[in-house]
Subunit: 129 residues, 2 copies
């Protein structure tokens, strides 16, 4: 059994950040769960184009408000507490925070822990997988 | 891209309940994400012995307070907002809610959607997997 807290993760090298967001990775590939689990904070006003070509991701909004734009269709979906989106088709998207948003994120395959988005908005594939 | 809300899931057959808990399954096996994602509410005073022999599960506490007892060691760990536990060893445990707790749960392999705990505290294996 693994027990971890957000407070501890935020104070450790499990926390990564980049302009507009930071993410505390509570579970990573090494934990052997077959997915990774992150609590990610999106800053108010952030506008983040992303494209996880190598991962499927689900995101559940715990707090805050914003939107996600599906770049395949142009549709914009509101995000509020209780909204979940899942990028089942590795969907290219833009995430926007109207306020600060706290999100529970699951990645399959799990991320290894030190990825940041590359120039295409993707996380690199895990070559060791 | 899949968009779902907790409110809609709770009002649909994605919601299942049993004494002491209810769970809204926002992602199930059919969604093809390789995991399932549930928002589970544990009632105040609930005491739930569980043993997921066929699934690994991580649980993140969004709100409320309680504890988890690891039956292999006898250790009891407090659960508060921001605490995560992961049953990486299919750990037998007892979950207790001091208050109502709202938890974000991830299962690997994904559950199919209509499981309830059997007499051993497990979800049955997905024979079609």
């Amino acid at each position: 059994m693994i027990i971890r807290t957000l407070t501890d993760a935020r104070a450790s090298d499990r926390n990564v950040s980049a302009p507009g967001w930071e993410s505390a990775r509570l579970l990573l590939k090494d934990d052997g769960m077959g997915f990774s689990f992150h609590i990610t904070t999106i800053q108010a006003g952030a506008e983040l184009p992303m494209h996880y070509k190598n991962h499927q991701e689900s995101v559940y909004c715990i707090s805050g408000e914003g939107s996600i734009e599906d770049l395949a269709t142009g549709q914009v979906h509101d995000i509020r507490p209780g909204t979940m989106y899942a990028l089942n088709l590795n969907d290219r998207h833009i995430l926007r925070g109207r306020t600060e948003m706290v999100m529970a994120c699951v990645f399959n395959p799990p991320v290894t822990g030190r990825e940041v988005h590359d120039e295409t908005g993707a996380y690199p594939a895990d070559r060791a997988a």
